[in-house]
Amino acid sequence: MKRNAIILAVLVLIVAAMLYSGRFFQRRPAGADATPGMQGSAEQIKGKQAPEFELLDLNGKTVKLSDLRGKAVLLNFWATWCSPCKTEMPWFVDLQQRYGNDGLQVVGIAMDDAGKDAIEKFAKEMNVNYTVLLGKNAVAESYGGVEFLPTTFYIDRQGKVQERVFGIADRKEIEENVKRILASPAAGSAPAHTVAHDNQQTLHASPGVNR
């Protein structure tokens, strides 16, 4: 009887220990700024080649990430229902305007079910001057699973993910990251010049969506 009780207690202990370790490892953060959920795989992508994708833009044209090789790419996952994403969009418009000639390409991947027309209307209202693509879950999955928005990846000229930011970022932080990827050398070329623009430049947003 006493022996059975001890065996039972040991079993309970083992199960409890398994539960504890399971929860512990589930909750281990992969990055200080990460929110539990996607961060594990998204963290793994940092420093690695950005996954290739093929998505349609608002004109129905296929855009591949590899088409942008040699450019610094700010890849932003967003949705029309995401208020923080909306806040960031004028900042991206500004950055595209100011750094576009230096080789920056902002790419917004719309991750909602609103449909092309609604996304296009929204982008026009926001004076978006950068590439907007219609998102697919498979692409989000390849970037670690975009479980919340906005999520932004900074891809250097060699196509490597230099940084990823979950949620809305500070505007200065975004610009610093953009400068970093612009300063990265293109594959097989001399290092690019350091970008040091006047941050106070006035925003002149071009109307309509980048075509």
Binding site: K2, R23, R27
Partner: protein, 183 residues
Amino acid sequence: MIRHAIFPKLIFVSLLFASAAFAQQPSNGPSVSVVGSPEVVVKSGGTATAKLTFRVNPGFHVNSNKPNSELLIPTTLKLSPPSEVMIANITYPAGEQITFPFSPDEKLSVYSGDFHVTALVRTAKGTPTGRFRVHGEIKFQACNDRQCFPPKSTPIEFDVAVQKSAAAGKHRRNPAQSPHIKG
């Protein structure tokens, strides 16, 4: 003697591990859940109001049923009652008009913490007495101060207890006090 001492210690350590494990239950993402186990009592052939309390987990907010922009996804409740029960007039509270750090110039109409949704529960005359389960789902789109989460649906359920109608009762002591309206 030693064995006697080990057994309670083993149990104690087990409980400690188990409680620690559940204390670490992650609050990964947003959730909206029904508070308690709501039950609505209605007379056969009468109506009653179901008051459902929903709880948004701390740190998150969801759009109200009438968000300030058509692009924002409203919180909606869909109920699928069994054939014995009818549901009408689902009523949502007004949202709190709140400004968030990510959008300081814009007020959003949101629910956070607990909020109540009511619905009219009606039964036809002759509905048999008994307990009937209403299934449904609450659809919401949540954000915190920095990011938003895709729309999500959470299943809900509550019970409707149908009692014998006042008119059908043979031993009504004080019919004037019946709070129920006959359908």
